[in-house]
Symmetry: C2
Subunit: 244 residues, 2 copies
């Protein structure tokens, strides 16, 4: 190993002047994920990521093919965050915990939803497929055939994605609604008398929404998630039992 002596020489140099450690694809992708989580998707630019790891923008291209590839890496990294629940239990408990864990991952990295939504490409690498393998395995143990198993997977997976998306994005659930002017639903809920918002939302056109306003504002996301998950799992189990 002739490299050894060389190594010693550079190590000595390192001590006196701490050379900046070599960039790796992992460090780049890591930085991108952190920026995405902390500052949003728009903040993830090549120059911003480069600054984060202490190089110029073009240096990144030695470790990722292009920005697409970088974002692929971010998606894969998020999937690696999935922590597999123990499986030595009834299938329905495994499925429920798996669903909860997937929700946790999505809520910890809410921007991957937008990432998936507009990139519209499948997961490709082995590690990203493992959570799917996990889910299919749990579903299979319910005594569901492969064909229906795929349906069950897509239905539950879709449910989780959609509910979390409505949870993190405001869309309908909370935040501000206006009809010409601004209206803060949370403020509405905070004991503002009914007449205060009646002038913003036309009560005669939207009576059900008006009636639902307090509940929209206070609605507990955890409880709601479990509500829908219970409906799906109970229905699936009933079908599986009926089948057998």
């Amino acid at each position: 190993m002739p490299a050894r002596t060389r190594k010693r020489k550079s190590d000595a140099a390192v001590v006196e002047a701490p050379v900046k450690e070599r960039l790796t694809r992992e460090r780049v992708v890591d930085a991108a994920l952190h920026i995405m989580d902390a500052e949003g998707l728009d903040a993830v630019t090549m120059r911003r990521v480069a600054r984060e790891v202490g190089v110029e923008a073009m240096s990144l291209y030695h470790h990722v093919r292009d920005k697409e590839d970088l974002l692929d890496g971010v998606c894969a990294l998020v999937m690696r965050d999935f922590r597999y629940p123990p499986e030595d239990r009834p299938w329905i408990e495994v499925a429920r915990d798996g669903a909860r864990e997937w929700r946790r991952v999505l809520r910890d990295h809410p921007n991957v939803i937008a990432l998936w939504a507009d990139r519209q490409r499948p997961m490709t690498d082995l590690e990203s497929l493992m959570p799917m393998e996990f889910a299919l395995r749990a579903i299979g143990r319910a005594g569901i055939d492969a064909r229906e198993g795929v349906q069950v997977f897509n239905v539950i997976g879709g449910y989780i994605m959609g509910v979390v998306m409505m949870e993190v994005g405001a869309m309908f659930s909370a935040g501000t609604m206006r009809n010409g002017k601004a209206l803060d639903l949370n403020a509405v809920h905070a004991k503002i008398p009914d007449e205060a918002f009646a002038q913003f939302l036309p009560a005669d056109r939207l009576p059900c929404i008006i009636a639902a306003l307090p509940h929209l504002a206070e609605c507990d996301p955890d409880e709601q998630f479990e509500f829908g998950l219970d409906l799906l799992l109970a229905g699936i189990e009933a079908r599986a039992i009926a089948r057998a």
Copy 2:
């Protein structure tokens, strides 16, 4: 009406040289939606939209505040595409048709999902809230109180969004998967012998996915949507009946 005579004069001029009709906010938003549907979200640039309506980019700013505002308009326009099913039927049929209709809208304009996902702002104008009002009204007729009604709305709404998102984006369901190399699932399903892809996906690590591959490729989206919708609606109705 002194303008009348003037009007006649310009009308004559119009006939001989068809002056380009004045731009309106509606024409601008319309063009943006068409571009988004036909060429994707990235294609919706101010210059591209301007070209579509026959003006320069900066002219658009007389009709929309900024690009945010333009995209708000696009979202509102999509919501206006919702066609309200008749309501003189049992609530569950109204709800089912409403869900189907929402899915149709999302599939006709799949890019609004990405739009919602990364803009994360609520619907604001009256017309965009009408489908929500419609849904809450239908749910209310099931004898569900306002509090649980909101949960039901969010669960079903989330389900639709998520399933359609998985349907239009590839993500897990179909398309290409690779493990270093490329693998076309549809090609796999097209009678390629099992050994052909066993070398791409490590069968020992992903047995359930391997087993599910043919069903992933062939799975009928309509059938799958109805499957999950039935589970949710049946569960909700059971609860409503039990409550009464």
